[in-house]
Every structure is written in C-alpha cells, then in structure tokens.
C-alpha cells in the first residue's frame, strides 16, 4: 500500500512546509549557530569585551571533574525520567482504556498535570516533600524513614525525578491512549477466544502494536529529560546537595542565565546539543528497527 501523498503542483508542498521550516530556522538553527559562535568566545557579562578563544571554553569544561561527573548524573536522571515516565503512563493508559464509566473524568484528571509549568510542578513536590513541613515527609517519618533531601543526594534525585515524571506522564498518557484506541478490538477478542490471558494479550498483541508510539515517546522523553527539566530543578534542589542533581542542562541555565557566563554556558549547550543529536541518531538507527509500523 502506497502511504505517500503525491502533489501535482510543484510549489504547493514547499509552501505548506515553509512555515514549519521558517520556525525551525528562527527558533532552532539561528540560536544553535549563535551558541556555537559564543562557545568559541570569552566575553564579559555586558558584552563590552569579546575575545576569540577557540576551544578554551571546552578545555575548561573537560578539565573540570565535576562537569564530567554531571554526565553520569544526567544519564541516571534521564533514564529514570524516561523509563518511569513511559512505563507508568502505559500502565495508566491501559487501565483508563478499560474503564467504562466516568472514563472522561479519569482521562481529564490524568491529562491535567501537563498544563502545569515545570517550576510550579517543582515547587509543588518540594512542598509535599519539604524536610520539616512536608506532608509526605511526615508520613515517611512515621514509617521510620529519615527523609531529608536537602542533604541526601539520592533522595534529592528521587524528588526531581518524581516531579519531572509527574509532569510528563500526561503527555505520554495521551499518546498511549490514542494508540490503544486505534488497536482493532477484533484482534484482542480473537486472542481472548483462543485462550490468551490479559497479560499474554498485552505483550503479544497490544505492546507490539504500540511500538511506534512507544518509540516516539522514548525520543521525546529523552529530549524532555535532557532539555526541559531545569525549571523543576531550579525550583527544588538547584543542583544540590553538592552536585547530586546538577544535570547538564541545569548547569547551562545556571552559568548562562544566573551567572552571565555566556561563553562557558554556550560551550555546554553545544556539548549537550551533540549528545542529544547522537542519542537521537542511535535511537533511529538501532531501536527503530524493532518498531513495527
């Protein structure tokens, strides 16, 4: 079956994609090129003195052991956010898909968090988990857990992962739900008649049929974890305690926006950009092969 749409007009297809290309050029390529340009420069905050320093900003970064450690932190964080985000929302979507009564209410409630700004999500969770006044802390203390993410790095990491995942679940949920609803019911019914239980039906029919959605969400979630989570971190741990939650994008934000170190910050965002490009290429080349469209 030919899935492609064939245009007769020579210019119409270009005209249709032009707005998208214009937006990409202005909001992605232009800043990206600027970041590359700034990353070779050393500048004071006000931009009064600019020197071309070649790769000095990069050399600085790679000499800094803490910056290198931040790669590991970022990897842990991203895998946790993407993994938890995808599996929890898949679970919720399969459950919501089966609900007959009040389905609308469930779905609306699950989609809601997506409308919340990252910083607000961060503050919300920080409140719930606040070391002395948080309600979750209170419950945890009752269970004998010494909850203090202000000083305990792994707990701080858990907190920012929870807050980031919570925000992304809605988005994933929407896609999974749409994916589930497009799976033909007769397929599942036939399997049920043949004696396949719910788990078997899920893993042999539903999950493979959802694989394009899952793959898409994997790419999007990794990008989200790498780029969009600095708001959550800034509102909660600010990278601490120590360097426990200092992921790459937060340091870009801190050094660039808060500390006005444009050269260093740009160099970091260039590195980050290459990592995400590499990851996306890997995902498309290797993981996509397992996807059945």
């Amino acid at each position: 079956m030919e899935k492609r749409v064939v245009f007769r007009s020579a210019w119409l297809p270009y005209a249709l994609v032009a707005p998208q290309i214009a937006i990409t050029l202005v909001f992605f390529f232009w800043p990206a090129v600027q970041a590359v340009w700034y990353s070779f420069q050393l500048q004071d905050a006000f931009g009064l003195k600019t020197q071309f320093v070649g790769l000095l900003n990069f050399a600085h970064l790679f000499r800094d052991g803490n910056y290198l450690a931040s790669f590991k932190t970022t990897a842990v964080f991203s895998v946790a956010v993407a993994g938890a985000g995808i599996s929890i929302s898949l679970l919720l979507a399969t459950m919501a898909d089966r609900v007959l009564r009040g389905a609308m209410a469930y779905k609306t409630l699950l989609i809601w968090p997506y409308a919340v700004a990252p910083a607000i999500a961060g503050v919300l969770w920080a409140f719930l988990f606040a070391p002395s006044i948080g309600i979750v802390t209170y419950v945890l203390k009752g269970w004998g857990v010494d909850w203090n993410w202000i000083l305990k790095g792994d707990q701080a990491m858990l907190l920012v992962v929870i807050a980031s995942v919570w925000k992304e679940i809605s988005y994933n949920f929407l896609f999974f739900l749409a994916g589930l609803q497009s799976i033909p019911k007769p397929l599942i019914e036939a399997a049920a008649i043949d004696g396949a239980g719910p788990a078997r039906r899920f893993w042999t029919i539903v999950f493979p049929l959802l694989s394009p959605t899952t793959f898409f969400l994997l790419v999007v979630n990794i990008v989200y974890a790498f780029f969009d989570t600095f708001g959550v971190i800034d509102a909660t741990t600010q990278g601490g305690p120590g360097q426990a939650t200092n992921i790459l994008v937060y340091k870009v934000y801190h050094d660039g926006i808060k500390a006005a170190d444009f050269g260093g910050s740009s160099a970091q965002s260039v590195i980050l950009m290459f990592i995400v490009i590499a990851l996306t290429v890997v995902q498309f080349r290797y993981i996509e092969k397992k996807v059945e469209y």
Partner: protein, 436 residues
C-alpha cells in the same frame, strides 16, 4: 460618534505625552518585592512630589539575579534602565564593566551635587569603592548576618535565656543541653556561604581571598582553606552528624525553621527580624554572631550584604542630572531613617543612625540597632571591609556545594575547602581573562 471618541483619545494621548516630555524620566530597576517594594515606591513618590523636572519610575524586575540578567540583556540590546539595584555578589561584574556603568562619584561631581561619601559607615563605603576610595555605586539596602535564639527553648533546656552564647564553645555547650531537652532542631543557618565563610572570615579578621578579598585586583585567589576555616567547617560537620546542626538550604530557608519554633538557634540576615516578629509565637533575641575565642583579634566586624544602586552608562546628560538629584535626595538622613525603620535594613549613614536613636526607635524596638553595632564593632581591616570576586554567583555556588558535602558527611572539611578553593580559583581566572 466613533470618530469623536477617537479624536478625544488621540488628544489625551497627545496631552499626556507632552506632559511626559516636559519631565525627564529616570528608570530604576529593582528587586524589592512585597512590603520592601512598597517602601521603595514610597521613596520614589516622595522624590517625584518634591520637584517637577524629573520623574523616577521604579520597576520591580524580579529577584536580584533576575533583574541583573534583565539589565544585562537590555544593555546588550542597546537600552536598559538609568539605575539598577545589584546585590553584593554582582559587584565585581558591574565594576569591571567600564562603559556599562558610571561611578557614582563621577555622576555627583559632574552634576555638582553635594555628596560626602564619608557620611556613610566605613564598612559600607569600603564595600562599594574602588581602591582609590571613589564610590562606585550608591549604597542602598544593607544588612548583615545576625545570631538569633529562641528564649523559650533556652528556658526549657535550663539555660539562661538572657545570656545568648557569645562564642562557638558556648554555642556547643548550649546545643548539647537543648538537644537533651528534646529540641528537634538545635541550630540552623540561612545563607551558609555568607555566614560561615564570608562573614566568618571578616569576624575573625582572616582573608577570604588575596588582594584584600579581591578588592585590590582581579588576580585574587581564594584563601578559605586556612586551618581556621577548616576547623570551623569541620566543627559544623561534626555538629551536623550529632544532630546539633540542621542544614536548611542555600538561601533563606533557615528563617522559617527558626520563626516556626523548629530550631532554637539560628544565624540569618538582620532583615529576617521583620518575618520573625510576625510569625514567632515565642520570646526571642537578636545577638552578635558567635566567634572562636582563641582567635586573636576576634571579633572584628561583620560585613554587609544586600544591594547597592548602580548608575548605568550611555544615557542622556539631562538624565544623569536627574539621577544625581535623586541620589542626593536619598542620602538625606530623614530619608535614610525612613528606609531603615520601615524595612529593617541597617542605617548606612552615621547621621541617620543618630537621628533614629534620638527618635527613640531603638528603645521601642530593642535589638534593632544590633546589626549596625556589629558592623561597626571595630574599624574595618583589609579582611573585613568587604569582598569583590568575579563571577561570585558561580563562586558562591561552588562554596555551597562543597559545604553540603561536609554537612552530609561525604567529604572532610579540609578536602571540601581545598576543592572549593581550586574550583573557585578557576572561576576567578576565567573572569580575569574575560575582563583584561
């Protein structure tokens, strides 16, 4: 009908704009939210009502780093305010930006406005002047770090509530007793780097960095891994392990832990008083910060925190005249007193301090003059007149990260402070290279 309305509208716009043209507007970007913002607007309004030629337009631009970032971005885009309120860690960045700023001393001299920097407390002028003693920015809201105790908790622990610990030895002794009496959180602090590194150094008359804490040149290096620093931070790490010190976070999170009664002792900004007064359901007192009594010369004097107002460059001459007039207006003792008593920031001129004392304000508000007494405890030395480190926003983060490693028991104090110095010096070298 519609045309008529349009005509009236256009006429009104025309009228208001000619009105505005007659007055020179002076844009002032600041970071004073809430009650502080109201007090600041009060000053601007008073100035606007006092004369007709200039109009100060005060705009709240968010937190200190936010308004500084906004001004930097605006400057890079070729605009920006006439006046910008900058917090103390931004000083070195502003000072190095020759061309982006105009020294206050120059502004006042050019406009022939009478202005005497000597009227200000030496700890204040020292902080905002260049090595030659020229005032670079206009001292505005200054505070310092103080030591607070919960008198009720002291009573409960069998301690004398009227005798706040003066030395760290006494703090430790009191801490043990408070802990034994069932106090959950014994001691906490806000602004860990400001209190336990920066003010700690000044209070014990030891340098934070070479070249007069960075005031003498960009080629400064941090010296916060001295034996005294290591000993102090190790003590805090030990207190943290024993449950005598509860770390609250990098900014003012400690304030709420004290005012809610959770913590019995607390070090935080003098500006925290207002919040404590409002929230605390217990008896408390404000005191000098503790010192190590075996250190010679301690206690010296504490250093200020807070912000000053910078005059930005590249504006019209008439606007600078207005700026000078406005700064002269702000320097009057009566205005200074209004700001001091209305906000809790320290009085920064000798005259306003005297005036406030004569008004009986300190009799009605015991302890309100403690901060200024602590700031002027002794004549400031090279180690205690302030600090000026390039990119100290990053530098402070580095220090705080390393302190957290100690408080969490992950690093010993010596390693952490060595690392803080090493990482901090990298930042200083980068700043030096960028501002040659």
């Amino acid at each position: 009908m519609k045309i008529k309305i349009l005509a009236i509208a256009l006429l009104t716009i025309g009228l208001t704009s000619t009105n505005a043209q007659a007055q020179t507007e002076i844009q002032w970007w600041h970071s004073m939210g809430g009650a502080l913002g109201e007090a600041l607007n009060g000053l601007a309004n008073k100035f606007n009502a006092s004369q007709k030629d200039y109009k100060v337009v005060a705009t709240f631009k968010g937190s200190y780093p936010e308004s500084m970032t906004a001004a930097i971005a605006a400057f890079r885009a070729g605009s920006g305010p006439n006046l910008l309120q900058v917090f103390e860690v931004g000083n070195a960045t502003m000072m190095a930006a020759k061309g982006a700023i105009v020294p206050v001393a120059t502004v006042m001299a050019d406009a022939k406005e009478p202005f005497n920097p000597k009227a200000y407390l030496p700890t204040v002028t020292g902080y905002y002047s260049d090595v030659k003693g020229n005032l670079l920015s206009f001292p505005f809201n200054s505070s310092t770090v103080m030591f607070y105790i919960n008198k009720d908790a002291f009573k409960k622990a069998g301690l004398d509530p009227n005798k706040a610990p003066k030395t760290w030895k006494e703090v430790l002794a009191a801490a043990e007793k408070l802990k034994a009496s069932g106090q959950q959180c014994v001691y906490t602090t806000s602004w860990p780097s400001w209190m336990h590194i920066e003010n700690f150094s000044a209070w014990h008359n030891v340098p934070i960095g070479t070249k007069q804490n960075g005031m003498g040149g960009l080629d400064t290096v941090f010296t916060i891994n001295s034996p005294l620093h290591v000993r102090h931070i190790a003590m805090l790490g030990d207190m943290s392990k024993k449950g005598l010190f509860t770390y609250a976070g990098r900014t003012n999170q400690g304030d709420a832990k004290f005012s809610s009664g959770e913590c019995a002792m607390f070090s935080g900004s003098a500006g925290a008083q207002a919040g404590i007064k409002k929230a605390a359901k217990f008896d408390w007192s404000i005191n000098f910060i503790p010192y190590h009594d075996d250190v010679k010369g301690a206690p010296q004097n504490s250093i200020i925190g807070g912000a000053s107002v910078w005059v930005m460059g590249g504006k019209k001459p008439a606007e600078y005249k207005g700026v000078a007039k406005f700064l002269a207006f702000l320097s009057q003792p009566e205005i200074q007193m209004e700001w001091h008593t209305g906000t809790g920031y320290v009085p920064i001129t000798q005259a306003s301090y005297e005036l406030t004392r004569k008004s009986g304000f300190y009799d009605k508000n015991p302890g309100a003059d403690m901060p200024v007494k602590q700031l002027t405890n002794k004549a400031p030395t090279e180690n205690s007149k302030g600090l000026r480190f390039g990119n100290f926003v990053q530098g402070r983060t580095v220090i705080e990260e390393e302190l957290e490693e100690v408080f969490a028991g992950k690093k010993d104090a010596k390693t952490a402070l060595d690392d803080a110095v090493k990482r901090g010096n990298e930042i200083l070298r980068q700043f030096e290279a960028a501002n040659k």
